[in-house]
Symmetry: C2
Subunit: 400 residues, 2 copies
């Protein structure tokens, strides 16, 4: 596997663009269109929030048949909690796009991210779709990722090249998400494209498996949004042999897909609202899978841990405290805690450590917190970011 | 019931003091002693964190027989995660105090709050206990509450007078806690005293019942500490008839006790680290008790809701989102949301509201968020505070 330049338009036969249609007050790009030359196998993973955005509801309906031609995503407005008009607007977005692309409306997926409870400005959207169609380009991946950003500071995209059956296969991807990020998914939207030749069922299996330990292991603030989705589209335009079962070729594709998801998940945590540091939380040797998950989740969510990392304070007591209230069953008297490679707690008791070394580790941009429970064989990992003044600033005035 | 001046020494036969023994770097009071003239019925509620501070562990052991004479609490050091020496130090604190008071060591309860993982400075503690004994006073309640403060800005105490069987009964109380606050309990420590005549079993029942919807409904940051305890002592020195069953007199006492706990809980939320506002979150007409609890808990914990309140931004979409991911089962399409008395969402859909009125409501020091689920008969309530720059500042450098 090799990392290559580009994003969603890196694979064969994908076109994209991002345009400014007036949904964002600052005139920045706010409408992204990604489409495939041919009908593509498609799979999606969606928010578990009981409240679901209208665009997301339509996409869940449209993806059921396992195929899609295009994904249209607007930023600046979540198209959520606005009543019947929300679903009507989502349908119109799909229908208009389908009309231009000469495909069926049910082959167009729709996503929206932004403020909740405000009806979409459909005049802007209609003009935006027309403009997007005109500007579609095989090099438009970067414009598309810019158009899905909200509080993101950096665009998040990646592409990799793999070899399946002697043939070059490319996976490209883009993601957005910076606040309201937590399993399962969040304000997070990701689109993954590939020219791999794979059945919808296998694409679905690979995506669900890849999301579990990647996008479902990112927490910025513990909030799971109503608009989160990860969409994968595979148009089969490479010359690779078809993947219709979980064979060796499936595994090659899955590993690359999981790598792509991991990198995007890390980018999302690193660019968390107000973040100054990426934090990787690892729980090792837990009695059960569930216990390992509960522990990484509690530590990654703890505002006390996250503010301590922001302050570069080796306050491991807060890490231990979070593990203790996580609901996981483990023996505190066997627990070791490390910051990077520095042991700060052994068998549940403070160990004297070099404060200068701790300060050096905490001054890095990537911090690893590791909890070794020494009571089983299960591990888990989660990415988060620190909690800074800027998180408060960004979120104290998001709507206004 | 009438609110009177004072705190833990307001009831008959209680003495207290707070002294500075050198545990806090700034020379502030850091050791509190509260004791009863006679052996008192005693009950406690303790943290559910799997990791438990050493002082708390000893107190759980000492309170088992239902009686206590004194509570000794130090601030500045949590006496937690320091290994065997931690329990030894807690035992010495109880034994020394018992020696001076001429009571049994097991009738002395011990509490500690502060930094985790650092052994107690026992030289300071020994001198402090000697000093505290000298300064014990029937008017020492206020000194005691000052000595248990850590990041608290305000001391938290209250006293009420009730009438049981024609006789005056007083309940006094003090509490501390400002960060790492969440059900069940937190860095929170509360001591409640009364001269009521009540059996240990009834005191225990009343306390557990009173804590449920008061201290267990406060969240500052979702973190539950390893040192949290609520202790109640009743020495029977009033002339009230004895309470040995859940009769009318029990109810009179319970209602006053619950009022005291409610007021302290609100004081804790209002004085949450960096807080500028007290937030009361109410879920009404939920299908089950559990659903109501999950909803208030998710909303009260959400950093996005808390930063929006700090920014006085009527971002009700975040309230609805938190309810949606809370795990509660409800129908989003029936849900109404209010800020104060202002309806902002009706049947899951945005309603146009007067932004000036919303701004006025959010500018108050106490904000009520109410979610009406219209799908059952269960309600719950939780207090929290907003999330400000100061929360980050306080917690970015707590240890240093």
């Amino acid at each position: 596997m090799k990392i290559i330049n580009g994003g969603v338009t890196a694979p064969e036969g994908f076109f994209a663009t991002g345009v400014a249609c007036g949904l964002k007050k600052d005139g920045k790009k706010d409408l992204a269109l990604v489409c495939s030359e041919d009908l593509a196998a498609a799979a999606g993973v969606f928010t578990t929030n009981l409240v679901k955005g209208h665009s997301l509801q339509l996409t869940m309906e449209h993806i059921r048949n396992g195929f899609a031609t295009a994904v249209l995503i607007n930023s600046g407005n979540a198209n959520a909690c606005v009543g019947e008009v929300g679903l009507e607007n989502a349908r119109e977005m799909a229908a208009l796009t389908a009309n231009y692309l000469e495909c069926r409306p049910e082959d167009v997926l729709v996503g929206s991210t932004g403020v909740i409870g405000v009806p979409l400005n459909m005049d802007a959207i209609r003009k935006g779709i027309e403009l997007a169609i005109e500007e579609l380009s095989p090099d438009g991946g970067h414009d598309a990722v810019e158009a899905i950003m909200t509080t993101d500071l950096l665009p998040k995209e990646i592409a990799v090249e793999i070899n399946i059956g002697g043939e070059k296969v490319v996976i490209g991807a883009m993601a957005k998400g910076s606040g309201m990020i937590h399993p399962n998914l969040a304000t997070m939207i990701a689109v993954i494209t590939s020219d791999v030749n794979i059945s919808p069922a296998m694409l679905n299996r690979a995506l669900k498996k890849a999301v579990k330990h990647t996008f479902n292991r990112v927490s910025v603030d513990g909030d799971t949004s109503v608009c989160d989705m990860v969409i994968a589209m595979a148009n089969g335009l490479s010359d690779s042999p078809g993947i219709t079962e979980e064979d060796g070729n499936f595994n090659i594709f899955f590993e690359a897909l999981e790598f792509v998801c991991t990198e995007l998940a890390r980018m999302i945590a690193r660019d968390g609202e107000g973040a100054t540091k990426l934090i990787e939380v690892v729980a090792e040797n837990a009695p059960t899978e569930e216990d390992a998950y509960k522990i990484v989740c509690a530590i990654a969510k703890s505002p006390l841990v996250k503010t301590a990392v922001f302050g570069e304070d080796a306050n491991w007591g807060r890490i231990f405290t979070a593990a203790g209230y996580s609901g996981a069953k483990f023996n505190p008297d066997l627990t070791d805690i490390y910051l990077g490679d520095l042991m700060v707690c052994c068998n549940g008791v403070a160990v004297p450590f070099d404060e200068a070394e701790a300060a050096r580790i905490l001054h890095e941009k990537e911090i690893k917190i590791r909890v070794d429970l020494k009571s089983g064989n299960f591990s888990d990992r989660m990415w988060t970011c620190d909690f800074s003044y800027d998180y408060v600033k960004i979120n104290g005035s998001y709507r206004s």
